[in-house]
Symmetry: none
Subunit: 225 residues, 4 copies
Amino acid sequence: MLFHSFIYLLSIVLFWMKAENKHSKIISAATKVFAKKGFFTARISDIAKEAKVADGTIYLYFNNKYDILLSVFEEEVGKIVENTENLLIAEADPHKQLEIFVTQHLMAMKKNRHLAEVIQIELRQTHKVIKEYRDNKFSKYTGIIAEIIKNGQLAGIFRLDIKPDLAKRAFFGALDEISRVWNSSLETNYSVEEITAQMLSIFLTGIQTTPSTFPEQVFFLPSQP
Amino acid sequence: MLFHSFIYLLSIVLFWMKAENKHSKIISAATKVFAKKGFFTARISDIAKEAKVADGTIYLYFNNKYDILLSVFEEEVGKIVENTENLLIAEADPHKQLEIFVTQHLMAMKKNRHLAEVIQIELRQTHKVIKEYRDNKFSKYTGIIAEIIKNGQLAGIFRLDIKPDLAKRAFFGALDEISRVWNSSLETNYSVEEITAQMLSIFLTGIQTTPSTFPEQVFFLPSQP
Amino acid sequence: MLFHSFIYLLSIVLFWMKAENKHSKIISAATKVFAKKGFFTARISDIAKEAKVADGTIYLYFNNKYDILLSVFEEEVGKIVENTENLLIAEADPHKQLEIFVTQHLMAMKKNRHLAEVIQIELRQTHKVIKEYRDNKFSKYTGIIAEIIKNGQLAGIFRLDIKPDLAKRAFFGALDEISRVWNSSLETNYSVEEITAQMLSIFLTGIQTTPSTFPEQVFFLPSQP
Amino acid sequence: MLFHSFIYLLSIVLFWMKAENKHSKIISAATKVFAKKGFFTARISDIAKEAKVADGTIYLYFNNKYDILLSVFEEEVGKIVENTENLLIAEADPHKQLEIFVTQHLMAMKKNRHLAEVIQIELRQTHKVIKEYRDNKFSKYTGIIAEIIKNGQLAGIFRLDIKPDLAKRAFFGALDEISRVWNSSLETNYSVEEITAQMLSIFLTGIQTTPSTFPEQVFFLPSQP
DNA sequence: CATGAATGAGGATTCATTCAT
DNA sequence: CATGAATGAATCCTCATTCAT
């Protein structure tokens, strides 16, 4: 009797694992396929084949094609946001925080090349569903940058004439464009560290109150007009 | 006799104008529709309706749907590149050159809101045709930034440790991302001048050798080769 | 005054010639194009280009695409029928008549290769318009064969057990199939005379009561039942 | 266990039969529709409706419209060729062989009226795909006639001055033209037997060395190699 | 009459989604 | 839950025909 219950529970767990397995298999297959062919050119059967699953199976886990795309964002971007936030909490210095953000972003993009492309490609899409997602959820991510800048301004290390909401876009745009072409030329020429150094060198120098040479800081800091 | 020749030539000219008219009517209709719905979601009949032209007429001027998109790029981006290059030739100071670039870009994007969206959306598409175009033709545009930076380095006003090909991407990415969201929030809050000032304030401060206060600062300016 | 009238009449005549010219130019262009591409695959603009005429001009001489095809038949086949009938009237011997028919047919097909193909290709089409034409007019041509056979039977030189309406089809079918592949292989191998000789050799021997004269005769001939 | 295997295999077989069913349902529907409307005038949806299948289903079994036509030939003509060849192998007398060929051809055409029309109509088409098929595959069929004639010449029963490649065309053309108009007038007037008798009567008399009475005549018959 | 740009109906094909097995 | 054959709506493009010049 106990044995039967055990078997029963086991089957539920296995069943759940299997399902969970299939769900994420589809997600990563979709990420790959979307990255390779773009959302509209990608076919459901491509994703199914990549996930080694039947076409119909996909509809047991997702409502429709858009839902897959949304889930890719939701889950994969979610992980990155979570990771980044966790790392930032432990660090108080806005300088370091920006460095962490850049490093995290570039490493995430490098690690999941396909996801990087999907974000870059589909984030620009004007499809209603995506637009809503972008407006509601993705801005959280760029919001992190604005927060760091604001904190820096409060701490007196970032110039007060810098508009955080403009700067966050400039900063994210720069990062994103750099990751966009990673696959082609940059990859072979620059490491994550080099790019991080360059980006911070430009931006920090650009926004900080002390026009010193990054990263070795300067001690006298005349206030900006 | 002379009169007849005149009428004949006039008819040719009018004919040409009419055709030219239709061509550009389709181009701008396509720009509008692509911006609103995205390339894949846009239907040929949408463009035709927007251009007040029959579906079939479009195929008298373009080979296929992709050709329309390509033409939008080719012609509209072409104009921007040309404009920008003309303005830059007359200016030797890299500082001013970057300022011109930013102003030109933002004004062009503001003027042709639809084009801005099309560029941002479709530039990321992974379709073969677009990819080729992007790689061959669009890089010219970003190449301008790299040139300005290199000149500035030769002139000793930009830091030598800045990699022009990284900086150009960062710079273009920042500009592009800022234009991207123009439609939603930024527009109401910032003018082209404000954004230009911010962007230059950050970037110039970020890359120049003399960490002076932007924008009044450059005293000696040797002419560029 | 007289001069003016003359000019007027001349212009009408020239006008008519020009029109006539254009009409036949289109006919022969259509024959060529239909032969090359088949009726359905041929485009009106192909015919227009071949005839060195504007697309719209074709509709000044023909009602529609089918009308062109019909006219090709009507006029070109008409010529052949007329020619053949004229030659046959002058000859009383059914043997010779069949020989004339074969020679005429093969020569016409050889002379106007394109027409030959059009007849062979489009005669089989099941399109309503063509079907009606075929049933009403073309049977006249094959009817000639039946007449010759009937005459031969009355004259006692062709077997009475031969059904003229079956034999006419067999005969025409044989001729037609031979012309059909003329373009490829037969042309280089056999002359019109050789083919005529073979065809008559088989058919005349096959249907005549006395296997006489043509070409290597047999001497004893038991009568057919 | 055995039972399960059985059920499994049964399901595979049933599945295969179903698919096979649909494939051949489409083939025969296409044959019907092509015969009725001609290849170009036939619409895919016509075939789909005739086969009681959705439009899209057709593309699960065929690549495109031409592929359907080709398959009709390939399969249906293939069957006829095979049947005919099997029957001919068992018969050594060229006289009888020709009789078999005629009977087979006419019976096949009568049995599958639609196929007959499709062959006759489309065989003449000038489309590249069809032309290639025709040249490669269909000539096999007419080749059979040439073989029979050659054998007859070796056996001394057919005249040596007959060119097998001309005669085969004449013979096939005659047969084909006769089947072509079967639908209209001939059908009601003549049976397969009558037509066969006429055709053989004409042709055999036309090509044989001994002008004996067909069909009772051959006394010595050396076996063919 | 001649032109050829414009029209728009029509059709082959694709592919997201469903559902019987 | 899993499958994948079947579905049919949706759309790009062609081309016969028209008509303003």
